[in-house]
């Protein structure tokens, strides 16, 4: 075991980690937007739209993320939509994350008892005020743990983008491996970097959660 040959590739590792973070954040933001839109559609009155969202959720949650990335990267070009690797991975991961977010956000909204909405209406609050002051804060608090753990899973899942040669961390690992022939050492280091990133995000989310959702819990 010899980790020394890897030392000179630290710049590539840092660049790879940055691309991984970009991929994660872009996909998370797009995915959450899809999630919000999907949850609104699921709550809406249009039956066809509800069925469409349900179909989307089941389709993306019951097929491997790897195959989804392959389909976006290899199949969309046959329809004339040729995306570079990074963009293709972003699209596939956003859709994947979105499918999970819809369910998380819907569950968060559903966790607010109807009686609270009615109580708000009785106090003379407008529809928007009820949403803003009565539904949203506890719904966010209830959805927060699920969203953050899904975010960490997304961070780890971006490693699949290496399979279409997006320059993220895992792809950098393959590059360094081909230069140094130190396979085990490279992947041990890569795992450590992912571990450090995942733990940092978990700590950050725990702090944000403790500060943002400080108000007393029920019971």
């Amino acid at each position: 075991m010899n980790f020394l040959p890897l030392w000179r590739y630290q710049n590539q590792l840092i660049d790879g980690a940055i691309v991984t973070l970009e991929l994660t954040v872009i996909s998370a933001v797009c995915g959450l937007l899809i999630g919000i839109a999907g949850a609104v559609a699921l709550k809406g009155r249009i039956t066809q739209l509800r069925w469409l969202v349900r179909f989307y959720i089941e389709l993306f949650r019951n097929t491997p993320s790897l195959i989804q990335i392959f389909i976006v990267f290899f199949v969309l070009p046959t329809f004339g939509l040729k995306l570079p690797a990074f963009e293709a991975a972003c699209v596939a991961l956003s859709l994947y994350f979105g499918a999970y977010s819809v369910e998380i956000i819907r569950a968060g909204l559903d966790s607010i008892p109807r009686s609270q909405v009615e109580a708000g209406a009785c106090l003379g609050l407008s529809g928007w005020q009820v949403f803003r002051h009565i539904i949203l804060p506890p719904a966010l608090r209830n959805a927060y743990p699920a969203v953050t753990s899904q975010f960490v899973l997304l961070l780890l899942g971006t490693s699949l983008a290496s399979q279409v040669a997006a320059d993220e961390l895992f792809h950098v690992a393959g590059f360094i491996e081909s230069r140094t022939y130190r396979s085990f050492e490279v992947y041990a280091v890569i795992c450590a970097v992912y571990f450090a990133m995942a733990m940092s995000f978990k700590a950050l989310f725990a702090i944000i959660g403790a500060v943002a959702f400080r108000w007393p819990r029920r019971r």
């Binding site: 089941e58 019951n62 790897l66 290899f74 046959t78 895992f170 396979s183 992947y187 041990a188 890569i190």
Partner: protein, 216 residues
């Protein structure tokens, strides 16, 4: 170049057996380990609780792809001998399964009230008997839906073995796609097969959950 024919169809379905084999191996070895982790997490000894929590935390904070490569290249380094790829891959999937199932089952065990253990102790049951006859049946019922849900994650996760060269469903898809130049048809078919495997489990998990809700 050739066109997509029955042979390609058959090759995708025969590759399915590796997907199934990996899932079965991961579950067979991962489940006992997960039970150990879950019991360790609720143990009286703080040291054991911490150690188990750390193990789970580490495995859950590393990509599955990273675990696979780590053990694929690491087994010869640890053991000093070459091991077949299937063993390295099985070790990685086993640990992955153990970490996630362990947390799920811990949640189930903790959801059973402490008073139930005490009631068992009052009846003169040993710690094992309390666990076996009082806690485990209730915890099992509570954690069955997420356990089935995790099986879906595991089936999807086996697609990563393709990257190490295992000719399971995803890899067979790549091979057929490269041979026939029909990525649309091939990947749509591969996705459909995964979907057909996973959707019934998802629906089953959901119906179990709904039944649990109603009984409370």
């Amino acid at each position: 170049m050739r066109s997509f024919s029955l042979i390609d169809f058959v090759s995708l379905f025969t590759a399915l057996r590796w997907t199934v084999a990996l899932v079965v191996l991961a579950r067979a070895f991962g489940a006992p380990l997960a039970l150990g982790l879950a019991l360790g997490r609720i143990s009286r000894f703080a040291g054991l609780r911490w150690a188990m929590a750390a193990c789970i935390q580490v495995i859950q904070s590393v990509p599955l792809l990273g675990l696979l490569f780590f053990f694929y290249f690491g087994m010869p380094v640890f053991l000093g001998i070459q091991v077949p790829a299937i063993i390295a891959v099985t070790v990685a999937y086993t640990l992955y399964t153990a970490a996630f199932l362990g947390e799920i089952w811990r949640g189930g065990l903790e959801a059973v009230k402490q008073a139930q253990w005490e009631a068992g102790a009052c009846l003169g049951l040993s710690a094992w008997q309390q666990f076996r006859h009082i806690i485990a049946p209730q915890a099992l019922r509570l954690s069955l839906p997420p356990t089935v849900g995790f099986l879906v994650q595991l089936i999807k996760g086996t697609s990563l073995a393709s990257i190490l060269g295992f000719v399971e469903l995803a890899r067979a898809g790549q091979v057929v796609s490269a041979a026939t130049f029909q990525p649309l048809l091939t990947y749509a078919l591969v996705a459909a097969i995964y979907f057909a495997l996973c959707l019934p489990l998802t629906l089953w998990s959901r119906s179990l959950e709904a039944r649990l809700d109603g009984s409370r």
